[in-house]
């Protein structure tokens, strides 16, 4: 037993914070892999939010939704990493600054 109860609202705030960290990560980092990790962080922040709302509302839907999100995140990782590896093979770099042949 935990000695004190944590208000569910705290988890919502934590979820929002993690999501924001992910957004900032995508917007500021230059490495495609790190950007992708930031996106995964955003998805996991959403999962935390889903589960917290599920707990607050005493409704299981949110936890089921989190499972779907986990599956989608895994599928996204497969395709995303394949694209990043393929571009790394061509340019020997995963920096998004190098990918600049298409402009304006």
């Amino acid at each position: 037993m935990i000695g004190y109860a944590v208000s569910p609202a705290n988890f919502l705030v934590l979820g929002a914070l993690l999501f924001s960290i992910g957004v900032v990560g995508v917007l500021t980092r230059k490495n495609a892999l790190v950007m992708f990790m930031s996106i995964e962080l955003m998805l996991n922040a959403v999962n935390l939010t889903f589960v917290t709302f599920s707990k607050m509302r005493q409704n299981l839907d949110g936890q089921v939704l989190a499972f779907f999100v986990i599956v989608v995140a895994a599928a996204e990782a497969v395709v995303g990493l394949a694209i990043i590896v393929s571009i790394y093979r061509q340019k020997r770099s995963a920096s998004v600054d190098e990918a600049s042949s298409l402009k304006w």
Binding site: I39, T49, F53, G80, S86, A99, L102
Partner: protein
């Protein structure tokens, strides 16, 4: 507690089952026999689409919400399937020779195309935010791979990377919006959300943030300004057949999903989101049209033109009435056909693997190949929205719906941007007809094949027929929404 198996209305998802089944069979054949004739895979895919169309036709009189309320079978969903299946079939026609010419004719193209189509049709029929998200991911994951299909082409890879990073980023926003909607209303079902959102006890601040995030997610998918940055790069980098498929299919599916979510689930909040989407619509039309003027690459120009067209369809959403929905459905269908025609013309423009991408290479092509030049001219006129083409009828219907909703300023803005947009379409027409062809026969001619001629012919015929005799299609679109959305 005994386990009660849920009732599954298989007939309601029969079109999607056919598409996924066909994709799996094609994938299996390609895996077992890698040397299989590509003609067989293309034929199998066309047959699958035909089967899905037949199942869709079978549902024409059904109006229901099935699968525990997650899937709507209504006129809009059926019209959406019609648009998307036509798009997929035409994409196969224009892909076949193009992929061979570029030496990227690998078998997995066809399963990916069918899976993307199944995601699109599900998105058009989804009555639950979770299913909308899954459908968007299904179509996006397949499209990320298709954009990067030319593995040795730097541009294709770069387009895929940008499309993937921004697409996944936008999906996360959409998902966070879904989570907040779930928190505020306790459900992801559109009809439940719409009832809960009208109740006074709902947390309005939470709903506003949720609606904004979901709008961002959909705006990314339809390439509305300011979330359009990925689309010119992805459109230019992708193999041309995939570009056509994205411009026609993704746009139609994402817009139908956008309309359904906002008009059904968030209908009670329309006085809050309509002004925002008003601004987005005007910005999308203006930025798309203005930036298209500066382009020298024909695919990139068509990409910006497709951004501008997203703005026109948004007019239907801002109007938020039944006329707006039916006009948007009409527009999405005729736009799909004419943009596929335009990209088919780009593919036909050269016999080898490299098309005439630079605008300068189109100089005088109409004098040498009048029929080909005429077809491209027709599509450009339709994209510009000039009579007697279907583009004119489509714009007319959208503007009429907006005027009915007293959005006169929006119509004025749309008309002005149409004039701006006409400039770059007409500039290409002038190049095609009025410039002398280069004297040294440096150009490689054009490369028509039976499949490409068929798709060009269908697109050209549809563009003229629905411009001159649009009534039957208008009636079909009106009937699709005459009883509203189900649910």
């Amino acid at each position: 507690m005994p386990f009660v198996a849920p009732h599954i209305a298989w007939h309601g998802i029969a079109p999607e089952l056919a598409l996924v089944g066909g994709a799996l069979v094609a994938l299996l054949i390609d895996a077992v026999k890698p040397a299989v004739d590509r003609r067989f895979l293309a034929g199998l895919s066309l047959a699958t689409i035909g089967l899905a169309a037949w199942f869709t036709f079978d549902l024409r009189d059904t109006r229901a919400v099935i699968m525990q309320g997650t899937l709507a079978v209504d006129g809009v969903a059926l019209f959406g399937r019609l648009i998307l299946l036509i798009t997929a079939a035409m994409t196969i026609l224009i892909s076949y020779h193009y992929l061979s010419r570029r030496r990227i004719h690998r078998g997995e193209y066809y399963p990916l195309l069918l899976l993307a189509t199944s995601g699109m049709t599900l998105l058009a029929a989804s009555n639950d935010l979770l299913l909308s998200f899954l459908a968007i991911e299904t179509l996006s994951l397949a499209l990320y791979v298709m954009v990067g299909f030319a593995r040795r082409d730097e541009k294709s890879q770069e387009g895929a990377l940008k499309y993937f990073l921004l697409g996944a980023f936008s999906s996360a926003f959409l998902l966070y919006g879904i989570a907040l909607t779930y928190g505020a209303t306790g459900s992801t079902q559109l009809s439940v959300i719409s009832k809960q959102a009208a109740v006074a006890s709902v947390d309005e601040r939470l709903m506003f943030v949720a609606v904004a995030m979901i709008a961002v997610g959909f705006a990314f998918k339809v390439a509305a300004v300011p979330f359009h940055m990925w689309s010119p790069d992805a459109y230019q980098g992708a193999p041309t057949s995939v570009t056509g498929f994205m411009a026609a299919g993704t746009k139609a599916a994402a817009f139908i999903g956008f309309f359904r979510v906002f008009l059904v689930a968030f209908g009670a909040l329309q006085w809050d989101w309509r002004p925002v989407l008003w601004i987005v619509a005007v910005a999308t039309m203006a930025v798309g049209s203005l930036l298209a003027i500066a382009q020298t690459d024909v695919k990139r120009m068509l990409a910006y033109s497709s951004i501008a067209h997203a703005g026109y369809v948004l007019i239907g959403l801002v109007a938020a009435n039944r006329d707006g929905v039916s006009a948007a459905l009409f527009y999405l269908l005729i736009y799909a056909v004419m943009v596929l025609g335009a990209f088919a013309a780009v593919i036909v423009s050269a016999p080898g693997g490299s098309e005439r991408l630079s605008l300068a290479e189109w100089g005088g092509i109409g004098r040498r190949y009048p029929v080909f030049g005429g077809a491209m001219t027709l599509f450009l006129l339709a994209l510009a929205g000039l009579p007697p083409t279907s583009g004119f009828t489509g714009k007319f219907l959208l503007f009429a719906a907006a005027i009915k909703a007293h959005e006169n300023a929006l119509v004025v803005a749309a008309t002005i941007t149409s004039v701006v947009a006409a400039f770059f379409y007409v500039r290409l027409i002038v190049l095609i007809w009025l410039q002398d062809p280069p004297p040294d026969d440096g150009h490689p001619g054009i490369g028509p094949t039976p499949a490409l001629i068929t798709s060009l012919g269908i697109a050209a015929a549809a563009t003229i027929v629905f411009g001159v005799w649009p009534q039957s299609l208008i009636d079909l679109a009106r009937n699709a929404i005459s009883h509203g959305f189900v649910g």
